[in-house]
């Protein structure tokens, strides 16, 4: 990896690390949701510092250049993150739908009870 890329990676991951901590402090991000981001940026920091280790591992795994290996790791990480978010979204959707149904049925039965009383 070139020195420029290593510096960019280092700065980028430090910024994302900082943003995570800041958002948690502002209570805009839950700790359990931020763990993957923290881990991700931590791994990137390690990778930009220990260039030799990355080179060695990339070689062993058959990557043409160690940069490719770094990008590969980032892509895998993002895919996993998107998948987890998708599942979370579906669950939330289902929960909102059920709440919606509950409110509608409750209102309906309340209305009918009122009519019976009158």
């Amino acid at each position: 990896m070139s020195l420029t890329l290593r510096i960019i990676l280092l700065i980028g991951s430090l910024i994302s690390f900082y943003l995570c901590v800041k958002k948690i402090k502002q209570a805009k991000l839950k700790v359990e949701n931020s763990i993957t981001w923290m881990m991700g940026s931590f791994v990137l920091i390690l990778m930009s510092i220990f260039d030799q280790a990355v080179q060695w591992l990339a070689n062993k795994l058959g990557f043409m250049a160690s940069v490719n290996f770094v990008f590969f790791i980032i892509i895998v990480f993002l895919l996993i993150q998107v998948f987890i978010d998708n599942i979370r979204l579906s669950t939330l959707n289902e929960k909102i739908k059920n709440l919606n149904h509950y409110i509608a049925l409750k209102e309906n039965s309340d209305e009918r009870e009122k009519n019976v009383k009158e």
């Binding site: 289902e94 739908k97 149904h101």
Partner: protein, 177 residues
């Protein structure tokens, strides 16, 4: 009338109806389009089918006795029919029909499985689960007001959805022992 505070789509509307039917212990639930396409006089026919002939789901179909016309609109219907036949070995002539009647068994099914929609793949699911699905000849009019939720782009999306659901998901639905 049950009215939902948030618009969550057609599927959600049907599901709340099914919940309502179960809570109140109804024997039969009817799915019916309110845009003037369907004629209420045929509902008796559907209900009779369930009461007399031991049918679990009755579908109001335009093409039991009549031939399906060769128009672009019916192309999708044909493809879905073919997919259903491939997966269940049963001929459903009008799978996209929105006029259906469900008995208690089918209502329970809707309540226990949140992935069921008022669309053709649910018919496949129910056939696979061993329910007796039957089509009844009805007439339908052109819609009087409102607009179909399917435009050109959406109908392609709809078709892809249906085919994926029927072929890749419902194929692996097994009857419980």
């Amino acid at each position: 009338m049950v009215s939902l505070p948030i618009n969550f789509g057609l599927t959600s509307g049907i599901q709340v109806g099914m919940k309502y039917a179960k809570q109140n212990g109804y024997d039969i639930a009817i799915q019916f389009d309110g845009d003037g396409q369907h004629d209420a006089k045929y509902l008796k026919k559907l209900v009779k089918e369930i009461e007399k002939n031991n049918v679990d789901v009755a579908i109001g179909s335009r093409f039991v006795e009549k031939k399906k016309p060769f128009t672009a609109r019916m192309l999708g219907s044909r493809v879905i029919s073919f997919a259903i036949k491939l997966v269940t070995w049963k001929k459903i002539n009008d799978p996209t029909s929105g006029m259906r009647a469900y008995n208690k068994k089918a209502i329970d099914m809707f309540n226990s499985n949140a992935s069921l929609t008022p669309e053709p793949d649910t018919i496949v699911y129910m056939i696979k689960k061993g329910l007796n699905v039957k089509e009844v000849q009805v007439e339908m009019r052109e819609r009087e007001f409102g607009e179909s939720y399917l435009n050109a782009f959406k109908s392609i999306k709809y078709m892809v959805n249906m085919m994926l659901s029927i072929i890749f998901i419902r194929t692996f639905t097994r009857k419980e022992k």
